[in-house]
Assembly symmetry: C2
Homo-oligomer: 131 residues x 2
């Protein structure tokens, strides 16, 4: 929770919220995706994603076009502008993380990261689709 608050405060400095960051990061990491897929990846409810994407789209950070192959879907793409924005946010988040983990040595941070990543991956496998 403390991490969450610190991150939120950091991102607010750039006018962003964590879901904006999550979506941009997911697009950057996995490439273009439909909203439903993005929702699963970022664990944002489909219904709430709509608003987040509206905002990101208004700011020119993503592009939303209907999939020609499956007209139910929108394909969400990261724009060059969005990519730049993500870089700024990444920097902010990194700074917050440095502050958050100030008590740990570099290799301890790596350890922590690895452990949490494994936990998260495992949860993803076991709980996917359950919410």
């Amino acid at each position: 929770m403390q991490a969450d608050r610190l991150v939120a405060a950091g991102l607010a400095a750039a006018g962003a919220r964590k879901w904006h960051y999550a979506v941009l990061a997911a697009l950057d990491e996995f490439g273009p995706a439909s909203q439903a897929l993005l929702s699963r990846r970022s664990r944002i409810y489909r219904s709430d994603l709509v608003a987040v994407l509206n905002e990101l789209s208004d700011q020119g950070h993503i592009e939303r076009i209907t999939d020609t192959r499956d007209q139910r879907r929108n394909v969400i793409t990261l724009t060059a502008r969005g990519s730049k924005h993500l870089q700024r946010l990444d920097l902010l988040v990194t700074q917050v993380q440095d502050d958050l983990l100030a008590a740990l040595l570099p290799d301890e941070r790596v350890q922590l990261n690895a452990l949490l990543a494994r936990v998260l991956e495992d949860l993803g496998e076991r709980y996917d689709g359950n919410w």
Copy 2:
């Protein structure tokens, strides 16, 4: 966030929420305290703590009496009933934690715990009173 959701779901089974658990645990660990102090320890806003304490008091889990030495303060004490309740919640939380950390070996869990505890303690020292 996933941990938070799992814990919330677990505690809900006993009709409790995380702040109830946090308050009971803080009282058990540090002993009786004023509301302001509890607020700082548990990072619940003092305004929100009021409602939590009302509920815990209605359930007979804590006692709230005005401090005779400083009449601004209330002294919050864990009752025997509250202590029993905390034991039940502890069990639930432990089960959730076991599920949450299923991917990790026993000593890895200890490691993770130690790392997080250090981070948290450090944050407490550096940020106390800032919110």
